[in-house]
Protein backbone atom coordinates (compact mmCIF):
# COMPACT_ATOMS: atom_id res chain seq x y z
CA UNK A 1 0.00 0.00 0.00
CA UNK A 2 2.37 2.59 -1.31
CA UNK A 3 -0.21 5.32 -1.17
CA UNK A 4 -0.64 5.15 2.54
CA UNK A 5 3.11 5.19 2.97
CA UNK A 6 3.34 8.61 1.34
CA UNK A 7 0.81 9.97 3.73
CA UNK A 8 2.92 9.02 6.70
CA UNK A 9 5.55 11.42 5.44
CA UNK A 10 3.20 14.35 5.80
CA UNK A 11 3.44 16.20 9.09
CA UNK A 12 5.62 19.26 9.41
CA UNK A 13 6.29 20.18 5.80
CA UNK A 14 2.69 19.76 4.69
CA UNK A 15 2.17 23.43 4.15
CA UNK A 16 0.40 22.56 0.90
CA UNK A 17 -2.91 21.00 0.07
CA UNK A 18 -4.22 17.59 1.05
CA UNK A 19 -6.12 15.23 -1.21
CA UNK A 20 -7.83 11.95 -0.49
CA UNK A 21 -8.65 9.46 -3.22
CA UNK A 22 -11.33 6.87 -2.53
CA UNK A 23 -11.50 3.94 -4.93
CA UNK A 24 -14.50 1.67 -5.40
CA UNK A 25 -12.35 -1.49 -5.60
CA UNK A 26 -8.89 -2.55 -4.65
CA UNK A 27 -6.40 -0.75 -6.86
CA UNK A 28 -4.33 -3.85 -7.51
CA UNK A 29 -3.78 -4.38 -11.18
CA UNK A 30 -6.77 -2.25 -12.09
CA UNK A 31 -5.07 0.05 -14.60
CA UNK A 32 -7.84 2.57 -14.47
CA UNK A 33 -7.48 2.97 -10.71
CA UNK A 34 -3.69 2.93 -10.90
CA UNK A 35 -3.90 5.92 -13.19
CA UNK A 36 -6.19 7.67 -10.75
CA UNK A 37 -3.61 7.10 -8.03
CA UNK A 38 -0.95 8.51 -10.34
CA UNK A 39 -3.14 11.53 -10.93
CA UNK A 40 -3.66 12.32 -7.29
CA UNK A 41 0.05 11.85 -6.62
CA UNK A 42 0.92 14.22 -9.41
CA UNK A 43 -1.55 16.75 -8.03
CA UNK A 44 -0.05 16.45 -4.57
CA UNK A 45 3.38 17.05 -6.00
CA UNK A 46 2.23 19.99 -8.07
CA UNK A 47 0.57 21.61 -5.09
CA UNK A 48 3.34 20.65 -2.68
CA UNK A 49 0.70 18.80 -0.71
CA UNK A 50 -0.10 15.38 0.60
CA UNK A 51 -2.36 12.64 -0.57
CA UNK A 52 -3.98 9.50 0.77
CA UNK A 53 -5.64 6.60 -0.98
CA UNK A 54 -8.51 4.71 0.63
CA UNK A 55 -9.20 1.48 -1.18
CA UNK A 56 -12.66 -0.04 -0.89
CA UNK A 57 -13.81 -3.49 -1.83
CA UNK A 58 -17.58 -3.35 -1.61
CA UNK A 59 -20.45 -1.00 -0.86
CA UNK A 60 -19.92 -1.19 2.87
CA UNK A 61 -16.27 -0.26 2.72
CA UNK A 62 -17.00 2.47 0.16
CA UNK A 63 -19.36 4.02 2.63
CA UNK A 64 -16.91 3.71 5.51
CA UNK A 65 -14.06 5.12 3.48
CA UNK A 66 -16.01 8.14 2.31
CA UNK A 67 -17.13 8.72 5.87
CA UNK A 68 -13.54 8.54 7.08
CA UNK A 69 -12.39 10.84 4.26
CA UNK A 70 -15.02 13.45 5.13
CA UNK A 71 -14.08 13.33 8.77
CA UNK A 72 -10.40 13.94 7.91
CA UNK A 73 -11.39 17.13 6.01
CA UNK A 74 -8.80 17.19 3.19
CA UNK A 75 -8.96 19.99 0.64
CA UNK A 76 -10.38 17.74 -2.03
CA UNK A 77 -11.86 14.29 -1.84
CA UNK A 78 -11.54 12.48 -5.15
CA UNK A 79 -13.89 9.62 -5.84
CA UNK A 80 -13.57 7.33 -8.79
CA UNK A 81 -16.51 5.42 -10.19
CA UNK A 82 -20.24 5.39 -10.71
CA UNK A 83 -20.76 3.70 -7.37
CA UNK A 84 -20.15 6.93 -5.49
CA UNK A 85 -22.93 9.02 -7.01
CA UNK A 86 -25.40 8.48 -4.17
CA UNK A 87 -22.75 8.78 -1.49
CA UNK A 88 -21.33 12.01 -2.83
CA UNK A 89 -24.77 13.53 -3.15
CA UNK A 90 -25.43 12.70 0.49
CA UNK A 91 -22.10 13.92 1.79
CA UNK A 92 -21.94 17.05 -0.37
CA UNK A 93 -25.24 18.14 1.07
CA UNK A 94 -24.20 17.40 4.63
CA UNK A 95 -20.76 18.99 4.31
CA UNK A 96 -21.19 22.04 2.13
CA UNK A 97 -17.66 23.31 2.79
CA UNK A 98 -15.97 20.09 1.73
CA UNK A 99 -14.84 19.96 -1.91
CA UNK A 100 -15.41 16.79 -3.90
CA UNK A 101 -14.20 15.66 -7.26
CA UNK A 102 -15.97 12.77 -8.96
CA UNK A 103 -14.24 10.93 -11.72
CA UNK A 104 -16.06 8.87 -14.31
CA UNK A 105 -19.51 9.84 -13.03
CA UNK A 106 -21.50 12.66 -11.57
CA UNK A 107 -24.32 13.23 -9.14
CA UNK A 108 -27.76 13.58 -10.68
CA UNK A 109 -28.31 16.90 -9.04
CA UNK A 110 -25.62 19.58 -9.26
CA UNK A 111 -23.82 20.60 -6.10
CA UNK A 112 -21.69 23.68 -5.77
CA UNK A 113 -18.98 21.70 -4.02
CA UNK A 114 -18.82 18.77 -6.42
CA UNK A 115 -16.76 18.83 -9.57
CA UNK A 116 -17.13 16.04 -12.07
CA UNK A 117 -15.04 14.57 -14.81
CA UNK A 118 -16.58 12.01 -17.14
CA UNK A 119 -15.21 10.15 -20.10
CA UNK A 120 -16.56 9.35 -23.49
CA UNK A 121 -14.93 5.90 -23.71
CA UNK A 122 -17.32 5.00 -26.47
CA UNK A 123 -15.45 7.29 -28.84
CA UNK A 124 -12.22 5.42 -28.30
CA UNK A 125 -13.90 2.02 -28.37
CA UNK A 126 -15.53 3.03 -31.65
CA UNK A 127 -12.11 3.68 -33.16
CA UNK A 128 -10.80 0.36 -31.84
CA UNK A 129 -13.83 -1.23 -33.47
CA UNK A 130 -12.92 0.45 -36.71
CA UNK A 131 -9.43 -1.02 -36.49
CA UNK A 132 -10.96 -4.42 -35.83
CA UNK A 133 -13.29 -4.07 -38.79
CA UNK A 134 -10.41 -3.19 -41.05
CA UNK A 135 -8.15 -5.96 -39.74
CA UNK A 136 -10.69 -8.78 -39.45
CA UNK A 137 -10.26 -11.51 -41.99
CA UNK A 138 -13.29 -13.51 -40.91
CA UNK A 139 -15.59 -10.52 -40.80
CA UNK A 140 -16.47 -11.39 -37.23
CA UNK A 141 -15.55 -9.23 -34.24
CA UNK A 142 -16.65 -9.47 -30.61
CA UNK A 143 -16.18 -8.22 -27.08
CA UNK A 144 -15.84 -9.78 -23.65
CA UNK A 145 -17.31 -7.59 -20.90
CA UNK A 146 -17.28 -8.15 -17.16
CA UNK A 147 -21.00 -7.85 -16.65
CA UNK A 148 -24.04 -6.84 -18.59
CA UNK A 149 -24.27 -3.31 -17.24
CA UNK A 150 -24.49 -0.02 -19.11
CA UNK A 151 -20.96 1.10 -18.35
CA UNK A 152 -19.50 -2.14 -19.62
CA UNK A 153 -21.71 -1.99 -22.68
CA UNK A 154 -19.69 1.10 -23.55
CA UNK A 155 -16.89 -1.29 -24.40
CA UNK A 156 -18.92 -3.58 -26.63
CA UNK A 157 -21.68 -1.73 -28.48
CA UNK A 158 -19.45 1.07 -29.91
CA UNK A 159 -16.86 -1.57 -30.82
CA UNK A 160 -19.46 -3.24 -33.01
CA UNK A 161 -20.58 0.09 -34.42
CA UNK A 162 -17.02 1.09 -35.31
CA UNK A 163 -16.38 -2.21 -37.05
CA UNK A 164 -19.56 -1.97 -39.08
CA UNK A 165 -18.77 1.61 -39.96
CA UNK A 166 -15.67 0.52 -41.88
CA UNK A 167 -16.90 -2.90 -42.97
CA UNK A 168 -20.66 -2.95 -43.11
CA UNK A 169 -20.98 -6.74 -43.31
CA UNK A 170 -19.06 -7.38 -40.09
CA UNK A 171 -20.96 -9.58 -37.70
CA UNK A 172 -20.56 -8.79 -34.02
CA UNK A 173 -21.12 -10.53 -30.75
CA UNK A 174 -20.63 -9.86 -27.02
CA UNK A 175 -19.98 -12.17 -24.08
CA UNK A 176 -20.21 -11.35 -20.39
CA UNK A 177 -17.93 -13.04 -17.90
CA UNK A 178 -20.47 -13.17 -15.07
CA UNK A 179 -20.22 -16.00 -12.58
CA UNK A 180 -19.39 -15.78 -8.91
CA UNK A 181 -16.36 -13.54 -9.23
CA UNK A 182 -16.75 -11.70 -12.55
CA UNK A 183 -13.91 -9.22 -12.09
CA UNK A 184 -11.26 -11.80 -11.20
CA UNK A 185 -12.26 -14.92 -13.04
CA UNK A 186 -9.77 -15.01 -15.88
CA UNK A 187 -10.42 -18.70 -16.54
CA UNK A 188 -14.03 -17.90 -17.21
CA UNK A 189 -13.15 -14.85 -19.28
CA UNK A 190 -10.87 -17.06 -21.31
CA UNK A 191 -13.65 -19.54 -21.98
CA UNK A 192 -15.98 -16.72 -23.00
CA UNK A 193 -13.33 -15.55 -25.43
CA UNK A 194 -12.93 -19.11 -26.65
CA UNK A 195 -16.61 -19.34 -27.36
CA UNK A 196 -16.27 -16.24 -29.55
CA UNK A 197 -13.15 -17.60 -31.22
CA UNK A 198 -14.80 -20.91 -31.98
CA UNK A 199 -17.40 -18.98 -33.95
CA UNK A 200 -14.63 -17.58 -36.11
CA UNK A 201 -14.26 -14.23 -34.38
CA UNK A 202 -10.73 -12.96 -34.90
CA UNK A 203 -10.81 -9.54 -33.19
CA UNK A 204 -11.86 -9.26 -29.56
CA UNK A 205 -12.35 -6.18 -27.45
CA UNK A 206 -11.26 -7.17 -23.94
CA UNK A 207 -13.09 -5.30 -21.18
CA UNK A 208 -13.00 -8.08 -18.61
CA UNK A 209 -10.97 -6.36 -15.87
CA UNK A 210 -8.51 -8.94 -14.48
CA UNK A 211 -10.06 -11.39 -16.91
CA UNK A 212 -8.40 -9.53 -19.79
CA UNK A 213 -5.32 -11.68 -19.33
CA UNK A 214 -7.48 -14.71 -19.97
CA UNK A 215 -8.90 -13.12 -23.10
CA UNK A 216 -5.40 -12.38 -24.39
CA UNK A 217 -4.30 -15.95 -23.73
CA UNK A 218 -7.27 -17.33 -25.61
CA UNK A 219 -6.69 -15.03 -28.57
CA UNK A 220 -3.01 -15.80 -28.65
CA UNK A 221 -3.65 -19.55 -28.69
CA UNK A 222 -5.92 -19.21 -31.72
CA UNK A 223 -3.76 -16.62 -33.49
CA UNK A 224 -6.50 -14.04 -33.11
CA UNK A 225 -6.22 -10.45 -31.91
CA UNK A 226 -7.43 -8.53 -28.92
CA UNK A 227 -7.85 -4.92 -27.81
CA UNK A 228 -6.93 -3.75 -24.33
CA UNK A 229 -8.27 -0.98 -22.16
CA UNK A 230 -7.12 1.90 -19.96
CA UNK A 231 -3.37 1.57 -20.48
CA UNK A 232 -1.00 -0.07 -22.92
CA UNK A 233 -1.73 -3.77 -22.41
CA UNK A 234 0.23 -4.75 -25.52
CA UNK A 235 3.27 -5.36 -23.34
CA UNK A 236 1.54 -8.19 -21.50
CA UNK A 237 0.79 -10.05 -24.71
CA UNK A 238 2.86 -8.70 -27.61
CA UNK A 239 1.70 -9.82 -31.02
CA UNK A 240 -1.82 -10.42 -29.81
CA UNK A 241 -2.96 -7.08 -28.49
CA UNK A 242 -3.63 -4.78 -31.42
CA UNK A 243 -4.33 -1.56 -29.64
CA UNK A 244 -5.75 -0.12 -26.42
CA UNK A 245 -8.46 2.31 -25.56
CA UNK A 246 -6.58 4.66 -23.27
CA UNK A 247 -8.44 6.49 -20.60
CA UNK A 248 -6.34 9.26 -19.09
CA UNK A 249 -7.75 9.10 -15.61
CA UNK A 250 -4.55 10.62 -14.29
CA UNK A 251 -5.11 13.70 -16.41
CA UNK A 252 -8.73 13.94 -15.37
CA UNK A 253 -7.79 13.71 -11.70
CA UNK A 254 -5.00 16.24 -11.91
CA UNK A 255 -6.94 18.74 -13.99
CA UNK A 256 -10.06 18.16 -11.95
CA UNK A 257 -8.26 19.00 -8.73
CA UNK A 258 -6.96 22.20 -10.28
CA UNK A 259 -10.43 23.07 -11.41
CA UNK A 260 -11.97 22.42 -7.98
CA UNK A 261 -9.23 24.35 -6.20
CA UNK A 262 -9.70 27.08 -8.72
CA UNK A 263 -13.24 27.51 -7.40
CA UNK A 264 -14.86 25.99 -10.42
CA UNK A 265 -16.55 23.07 -8.70
CA UNK A 266 -20.14 22.49 -9.64
CA UNK A 267 -19.28 21.83 -13.25
CA UNK A 268 -18.81 18.70 -15.23
CA UNK A 269 -15.94 18.26 -17.62
CA UNK A 270 -16.25 15.62 -20.24
CA UNK A 271 -13.15 14.01 -21.63
CA UNK A 272 -13.19 12.45 -25.05
CA UNK A 273 -11.00 12.24 -28.10
CA UNK A 274 -11.13 15.98 -28.48
CA UNK A 275 -9.87 16.73 -24.99
CA UNK A 276 -7.22 14.02 -25.13
CA UNK A 277 -8.84 12.20 -22.20
CA UNK A 278 -9.60 9.23 -24.41
CA UNK A 279 -7.24 7.94 -27.03
CA UNK A 280 -5.76 4.86 -28.61
CA UNK A 281 -2.20 3.75 -28.05
CA UNK A 282 -1.90 3.71 -31.83
CA UNK A 283 -2.77 7.37 -32.05
CA UNK A 284 -0.24 8.48 -29.47
CA UNK A 285 3.42 9.17 -29.82
CA UNK A 286 5.61 6.15 -29.15
CA UNK A 287 3.36 3.75 -30.97
CA UNK A 288 6.38 2.11 -32.59
CA UNK A 289 7.83 1.08 -29.25
CA UNK A 290 4.47 0.11 -27.78
CA UNK A 291 4.69 -3.54 -28.85
CA UNK A 292 1.20 -3.10 -30.25
CA UNK A 293 0.23 -4.93 -33.41
CA UNK A 294 -1.28 -1.78 -34.83
CA UNK A 295 2.22 -0.36 -35.26
CA UNK A 296 2.59 -2.62 -38.31
CA UNK A 297 -0.64 -1.38 -39.88
CA UNK A 298 0.03 2.24 -40.73
CA UNK A 299 -2.65 2.13 -43.41
CA UNK A 300 -5.25 1.23 -40.83
CA UNK A 301 -4.01 3.96 -38.55
CA UNK A 302 -4.40 6.48 -41.34
CA UNK A 303 -8.07 5.58 -41.80
CA UNK A 304 -8.69 5.56 -38.05
CA UNK A 305 -7.05 8.98 -37.71
CA UNK A 306 -9.49 10.27 -40.29
CA UNK A 307 -12.40 8.89 -38.29
CA UNK A 308 -11.00 10.43 -35.15
CA UNK A 309 -10.79 13.80 -36.82
CA UNK A 310 -14.42 13.50 -37.85
CA UNK A 311 -15.45 12.71 -34.29
CA UNK A 312 -13.34 15.52 -32.88
CA UNK A 313 -14.85 17.89 -35.38
CA UNK A 314 -18.31 16.78 -34.37
CA UNK A 315 -19.11 15.46 -37.83
CA UNK A 316 -19.46 11.91 -36.57
CA UNK A 317 -21.48 11.13 -33.48
CA UNK A 318 -20.87 7.90 -31.52
CA UNK A 319 -23.86 6.50 -29.64
CA UNK A 320 -23.34 6.18 -25.89
CA UNK A 321 -24.93 2.96 -24.55
CA UNK A 322 -24.84 4.30 -21.02
CA UNK A 323 -26.91 7.32 -21.91
CA UNK A 324 -30.07 5.33 -22.55
Amino acid sequence: NAAAKDSSSEGAKSSGKSFTLVTPDAVGQNEFLKLAVDGVKAAAKAHDGTQKVYESSDTASQQQNVQAAVEAKPDVIVLVGFEFADLVAQQAKAHADQQFLMIDACTTKTFKNVGCAVFREHEGVYLAGAEAGLLSKSGKVGAVDVLDTPQFRRYSDPFAAGARKVAAKTSTSTRFVGGQSPFDDSARAKEQANSLLSKGTDQIMAAAAAGNYGVFEAAKAKGAFAYGVDVNQCVSSPGTVVDNVIKRTDVAVEKGIDQVLGGKAGTTVSYGLKEGGISLTGLEAGVDSSKCVIAQHKDVLTKVKALRDQIVAGELKVDDPAAS
Binding site: D148, T174, S181, A187, N194, S198, Y213
Partner: protein
Protein backbone atom coordinates in the same frame (compact mmCIF):
# COMPACT_ATOMS: atom_id res chain seq x y z
CA UNK B 1 -24.06 -26.03 -34.96
CA UNK B 2 -24.57 -25.72 -31.21
CA UNK B 3 -23.15 -28.97 -29.88
CA UNK B 4 -19.82 -29.10 -31.60
CA UNK B 5 -16.36 -30.21 -30.61
CA UNK B 6 -15.53 -26.72 -29.34
CA UNK B 7 -18.35 -26.90 -26.87
CA UNK B 8 -17.05 -30.22 -25.63
CA UNK B 9 -13.49 -28.91 -25.42
CA UNK B 10 -14.70 -25.91 -23.49
CA UNK B 11 -16.66 -28.13 -21.13
CA UNK B 12 -13.68 -30.41 -20.64
CA UNK B 13 -11.39 -27.49 -19.85
CA UNK B 14 -13.84 -26.16 -17.29
CA UNK B 15 -14.13 -29.68 -15.94
CA UNK B 16 -10.50 -30.48 -15.13
CA UNK B 17 -9.96 -28.38 -11.98
CA UNK B 18 -13.40 -29.19 -10.64
CA UNK B 19 -12.89 -32.89 -11.27
CA UNK B 20 -9.53 -33.02 -9.53
CA UNK B 21 -10.85 -31.23 -6.48
CA UNK B 22 -14.05 -33.26 -6.40
CA UNK B 23 -12.10 -36.51 -6.51
CA UNK B 24 -10.27 -35.36 -3.41
CA UNK B 25 -13.56 -34.44 -1.80
CA UNK B 26 -14.98 -37.86 -2.68
CA UNK B 27 -12.06 -39.64 -1.04
CA UNK B 28 -12.56 -37.64 2.14
CA UNK B 29 -16.26 -38.33 2.07
CA UNK B 30 -15.57 -42.03 1.74
CA UNK B 31 -13.21 -41.86 4.70
CA UNK B 32 -15.84 -40.07 6.75
CA UNK B 33 -14.40 -36.57 6.72
CA UNK B 34 -16.70 -33.95 5.26
CA UNK B 35 -14.35 -31.72 3.29
CA UNK B 36 -15.91 -28.37 2.51
CA UNK B 37 -12.52 -26.63 2.27
CA UNK B 38 -11.76 -27.68 -1.31
CA UNK B 39 -12.02 -24.09 -2.50
CA UNK B 40 -9.37 -22.84 -0.11
CA UNK B 41 -7.03 -25.74 -0.77
CA UNK B 42 -7.35 -25.10 -4.49
CA UNK B 43 -6.60 -21.42 -4.06
CA UNK B 44 -3.44 -22.24 -2.11
CA UNK B 45 -2.52 -24.50 -5.02
CA UNK B 46 -3.07 -21.69 -7.53
CA UNK B 47 -0.84 -19.32 -5.65
CA UNK B 48 1.96 -21.77 -4.99
CA UNK B 49 1.93 -22.99 -8.58
CA UNK B 50 2.31 -19.48 -9.95
CA UNK B 51 4.91 -18.42 -7.40
CA UNK B 52 7.05 -21.50 -7.92
CA UNK B 53 6.78 -21.43 -11.68
CA UNK B 54 7.77 -17.76 -11.64
CA UNK B 55 10.83 -18.17 -9.46
CA UNK B 56 12.07 -21.46 -10.93
CA UNK B 57 10.89 -20.98 -14.48
CA UNK B 58 9.49 -24.49 -14.45
CA UNK B 59 5.74 -25.03 -14.50
CA UNK B 60 6.36 -28.64 -13.46
CA UNK B 61 8.00 -27.55 -10.26
CA UNK B 62 5.02 -25.26 -9.88
CA UNK B 63 2.66 -28.23 -10.12
CA UNK B 64 4.72 -30.19 -7.63
CA UNK B 65 4.92 -27.32 -5.19
CA UNK B 66 1.19 -26.68 -5.51
CA UNK B 67 0.43 -30.29 -4.64
CA UNK B 68 2.74 -30.18 -1.64
CA UNK B 69 1.55 -26.80 -0.40
CA UNK B 70 -2.11 -27.70 -0.64
CA UNK B 71 -1.42 -31.01 1.08
CA UNK B 72 0.34 -29.14 3.87
CA UNK B 73 -2.60 -26.75 4.05
CA UNK B 74 -5.01 -29.67 4.24
CA UNK B 75 -3.33 -30.67 7.49
CA UNK B 76 -5.44 -28.01 9.16
CA UNK B 77 -8.49 -30.11 8.39
CA UNK B 78 -6.78 -33.38 9.24
CA UNK B 79 -5.47 -32.23 12.60
CA UNK B 80 -8.56 -30.21 13.42
CA UNK B 81 -11.22 -32.70 12.43
CA UNK B 82 -9.51 -36.07 12.90
CA UNK B 83 -7.12 -35.58 15.80
CA UNK B 84 -8.86 -32.82 17.73
CA UNK B 85 -12.34 -33.94 16.65
CA UNK B 86 -13.33 -30.42 15.69
CA UNK B 87 -16.15 -29.59 13.39
CA UNK B 88 -15.21 -30.27 9.79
CA UNK B 89 -17.72 -27.80 8.34
CA UNK B 90 -16.48 -24.90 10.41
CA UNK B 91 -12.89 -25.83 9.70
CA UNK B 92 -13.56 -26.04 5.98
CA UNK B 93 -15.24 -22.67 5.89
CA UNK B 94 -12.40 -21.17 7.91
CA UNK B 95 -9.88 -22.70 5.52
CA UNK B 96 -11.63 -21.10 2.58
CA UNK B 97 -11.58 -17.73 4.31
CA UNK B 98 -7.98 -18.11 5.38
CA UNK B 99 -6.85 -19.03 1.89
CA UNK B 100 -8.36 -15.89 0.38
CA UNK B 101 -6.78 -13.68 3.02
CA UNK B 102 -3.45 -15.46 3.01
CA UNK B 103 -2.96 -15.53 -0.76
CA UNK B 104 -3.96 -11.88 -1.11
CA UNK B 105 -1.59 -11.01 1.70
CA UNK B 106 1.23 -13.04 0.18
CA UNK B 107 0.54 -11.62 -3.25
CA UNK B 108 1.27 -8.21 -1.82
CA UNK B 109 4.34 -9.36 0.07
CA UNK B 110 5.90 -11.62 -2.57
CA UNK B 111 5.07 -9.79 -5.79
CA UNK B 112 4.26 -6.36 -4.43
CA UNK B 113 1.06 -6.28 -6.44
CA UNK B 114 -2.59 -6.50 -5.63
CA UNK B 115 -5.38 -8.19 -7.47
CA UNK B 116 -3.57 -10.00 -10.23
CA UNK B 117 -0.09 -11.21 -10.94
CA UNK B 118 0.46 -11.74 -14.62
CA UNK B 119 3.61 -11.71 -16.65
CA UNK B 120 4.26 -12.84 -20.23
CA UNK B 121 7.31 -14.75 -19.05
CA UNK B 122 5.38 -16.73 -16.45
CA UNK B 123 5.66 -20.29 -17.71
CA UNK B 124 2.39 -22.19 -18.01
CA UNK B 125 1.76 -25.84 -18.68
CA UNK B 126 2.22 -27.02 -22.26
CA UNK B 127 -0.75 -28.33 -24.19
CA UNK B 128 -0.80 -31.91 -25.40
CA UNK B 129 -3.57 -32.62 -27.86
CA UNK B 130 -5.41 -29.48 -26.82
CA UNK B 131 -5.30 -30.23 -23.11
CA UNK B 132 -2.83 -29.71 -20.34
CA UNK B 133 -1.15 -32.90 -19.09
CA UNK B 134 -3.02 -32.43 -15.82
CA UNK B 135 -6.28 -32.96 -17.66
CA UNK B 136 -5.09 -36.41 -18.66
CA UNK B 137 -3.92 -36.94 -15.12
CA UNK B 138 -7.42 -36.09 -13.90
CA UNK B 139 -8.94 -38.69 -16.19
CA UNK B 140 -6.41 -41.24 -15.08
CA UNK B 141 -7.11 -40.32 -11.47
CA UNK B 142 -10.77 -41.21 -11.96
CA UNK B 143 -9.76 -44.67 -13.18
CA UNK B 144 -7.21 -45.15 -10.43
CA UNK B 145 -9.58 -43.94 -7.73
CA UNK B 146 -12.30 -46.25 -9.01
CA UNK B 147 -9.97 -49.22 -9.00
CA UNK B 148 -8.47 -48.44 -5.62
CA UNK B 149 -11.78 -47.77 -3.95
CA UNK B 150 -13.54 -50.81 -5.29
CA UNK B 151 -10.81 -53.42 -5.50
CA UNK B 152 -7.68 -52.48 -3.62
CA UNK B 153 -7.21 -53.31 0.06
CA UNK B 154 -6.67 -49.63 0.77
CA UNK B 155 -10.00 -48.81 -0.79
CA UNK B 156 -11.78 -51.51 1.16
CA UNK B 157 -10.26 -50.25 4.39
CA UNK B 158 -10.95 -46.63 3.54
CA UNK B 159 -14.60 -47.39 2.92
CA UNK B 160 -14.71 -49.37 6.13
CA UNK B 161 -13.18 -46.51 8.10
CA UNK B 162 -15.70 -44.09 6.64
CA UNK B 163 -18.65 -46.30 7.41
CA UNK B 164 -17.79 -47.62 10.87
CA UNK B 165 -14.57 -46.24 12.32
CA UNK B 166 -14.75 -48.22 15.57
CA UNK B 167 -15.27 -51.43 13.65
CA UNK B 168 -12.17 -50.72 11.63
CA UNK B 169 -10.26 -49.84 14.77
CA UNK B 170 -11.09 -53.14 16.43
CA UNK B 171 -9.58 -54.90 13.43
CA UNK B 172 -6.34 -53.00 13.82
CA UNK B 173 -7.05 -50.50 11.04
CA UNK B 174 -6.45 -47.02 12.39
CA UNK B 175 -9.26 -44.73 11.22
CA UNK B 176 -7.12 -41.69 11.86
CA UNK B 177 -4.42 -42.97 9.55
CA UNK B 178 -6.80 -43.50 6.67
CA UNK B 179 -8.58 -40.23 7.31
CA UNK B 180 -5.29 -38.37 7.35
CA UNK B 181 -4.32 -40.11 4.13
CA UNK B 182 -7.63 -39.20 2.49
CA UNK B 183 -7.39 -35.57 3.56
CA UNK B 184 -3.77 -35.32 2.43
CA UNK B 185 -4.54 -36.90 -0.93
CA UNK B 186 -7.44 -34.50 -1.31
CA UNK B 187 -4.93 -31.76 -0.57
CA UNK B 188 -2.65 -33.04 -3.32
CA UNK B 189 -5.55 -33.28 -5.76
CA UNK B 190 -6.78 -29.78 -4.88
CA UNK B 191 -3.23 -28.53 -5.31
CA UNK B 192 -3.17 -30.06 -8.76
CA UNK B 193 -6.58 -28.53 -9.44
CA UNK B 194 -5.20 -25.16 -8.45
CA UNK B 195 -2.10 -25.63 -10.60
CA UNK B 196 -4.30 -26.59 -13.53
CA UNK B 197 -6.42 -23.48 -13.03
CA UNK B 198 -3.49 -21.08 -12.66
CA UNK B 199 -0.97 -22.63 -15.06
CA UNK B 200 -3.26 -24.59 -17.37
CA UNK B 201 -6.61 -22.91 -17.86
CA UNK B 202 -4.88 -19.53 -17.65
CA UNK B 203 -1.37 -18.46 -16.78
CA UNK B 204 -1.63 -16.00 -13.94
CA UNK B 205 -2.76 -15.60 -10.37
CA UNK B 206 -5.56 -13.36 -9.30
CA UNK B 207 -7.14 -12.98 -5.89
CA UNK B 208 -9.97 -15.42 -5.29
CA UNK B 209 -9.45 -16.85 -8.78
CA UNK B 210 -11.07 -20.16 -7.84
CA UNK B 211 -14.34 -18.19 -7.92
CA UNK B 212 -16.57 -20.84 -6.39
CA UNK B 213 -15.17 -23.85 -8.25
CA UNK B 214 -14.40 -25.58 -4.96
CA UNK B 215 -18.03 -25.31 -3.96
CA UNK B 216 -19.08 -26.79 -7.25
CA UNK B 217 -16.70 -29.65 -6.50
CA UNK B 218 -18.42 -30.13 -3.13
CA UNK B 219 -21.76 -30.33 -4.90
CA UNK B 220 -20.29 -32.73 -7.45
CA UNK B 221 -19.21 -35.02 -4.62
CA UNK B 222 -22.76 -35.14 -3.35
CA UNK B 223 -24.36 -35.45 -6.75
CA UNK B 224 -21.89 -38.16 -7.70
CA UNK B 225 -22.46 -39.94 -4.39
CA UNK B 226 -18.73 -39.83 -3.70
CA UNK B 227 -18.07 -42.38 -6.44
CA UNK B 228 -15.23 -41.37 -8.78
CA UNK B 229 -17.32 -42.08 -11.85
CA UNK B 230 -20.33 -40.36 -10.37
CA UNK B 231 -18.20 -37.36 -9.55
CA UNK B 232 -16.90 -37.33 -13.11
CA UNK B 233 -20.43 -37.34 -14.51
CA UNK B 234 -21.54 -34.62 -12.12
CA UNK B 235 -18.57 -32.41 -13.00
CA UNK B 236 -19.12 -33.08 -16.69
CA UNK B 237 -22.76 -32.10 -16.38
CA UNK B 238 -21.75 -28.88 -14.72
CA UNK B 239 -19.04 -28.18 -17.29
CA UNK B 240 -21.43 -28.78 -20.18
CA UNK B 241 -24.10 -26.60 -18.64
CA UNK B 242 -21.59 -23.80 -18.21
CA UNK B 243 -20.12 -24.12 -21.69
CA UNK B 244 -23.61 -24.26 -23.15
CA UNK B 245 -24.43 -21.17 -21.14
CA UNK B 246 -21.59 -19.30 -22.85
CA UNK B 247 -23.04 -20.31 -26.21
CA UNK B 248 -26.52 -19.28 -25.23
CA UNK B 249 -25.22 -15.78 -24.48
CA UNK B 250 -24.30 -15.69 -28.14
CA UNK B 251 -27.89 -16.48 -28.97
CA UNK B 252 -29.08 -13.50 -26.98
CA UNK B 253 -29.94 -15.04 -23.65
CA UNK B 254 -29.19 -12.55 -20.85
CA UNK B 255 -25.99 -13.11 -18.90
CA UNK B 256 -27.95 -13.58 -15.68
CA UNK B 257 -29.83 -16.52 -17.16
CA UNK B 258 -26.69 -18.23 -18.38
CA UNK B 259 -25.05 -17.59 -15.01
CA UNK B 260 -27.85 -19.42 -13.26
CA UNK B 261 -28.08 -22.26 -15.77
CA UNK B 262 -25.43 -24.65 -14.37
CA UNK B 263 -26.91 -24.46 -10.88
CA UNK B 264 -30.43 -25.03 -12.06
CA UNK B 265 -29.31 -27.97 -14.18
CA UNK B 266 -27.42 -29.44 -11.22
CA UNK B 267 -30.41 -29.06 -8.95
CA UNK B 268 -32.59 -30.73 -11.55
CA UNK B 269 -30.13 -33.59 -11.81
CA UNK B 270 -30.21 -33.95 -8.04
CA UNK B 271 -33.99 -34.12 -8.08
CA UNK B 272 -33.91 -36.85 -10.69
CA UNK B 273 -31.18 -38.96 -9.14
CA UNK B 274 -32.46 -38.78 -5.56
CA UNK B 275 -36.03 -39.46 -6.67
CA UNK B 276 -34.85 -42.52 -8.59
CA UNK B 277 -32.74 -43.71 -5.71
CA UNK B 278 -35.65 -43.32 -3.31
CA UNK B 279 -37.89 -45.42 -5.49
CA UNK B 280 -35.23 -48.09 -5.62
CA UNK B 281 -34.38 -48.17 -1.95
CA UNK B 282 -37.85 -48.14 -0.45
CA UNK B 283 -38.69 -51.80 -1.09
CA UNK B 284 -35.18 -52.89 -0.17
CA UNK B 285 -35.43 -51.12 3.16
CA UNK B 286 -38.50 -53.13 4.01
CA UNK B 287 -36.55 -56.37 4.10
CA UNK B 288 -34.47 -55.71 7.16
Amino acid sequence: MFFDSDLLMSALRALTPILLAALGGALCERAGVFNIGLEGMMLMGCFTAVTTSWFTGSPWLGVLAAALAAAAYSLILAVGAVTLRGDAVVLGIAMNLLAVGLTSFLLRTVFGVQGTFDDPSLAGLPLVGGFSPLAYLAWAAVAVATLVLSRHVWGLRLRGVGEAPQAAATLGVSPAKYQYAAVLVSGVLCGLAGAQLALGNVTLFSENMTAGRGWIAVVAVMLGRALPLGVLLAALLFGLAEAAGFRLQGLGLPQQATDAAPYVVTLGALFLTTARRRRRTTPAGAVS
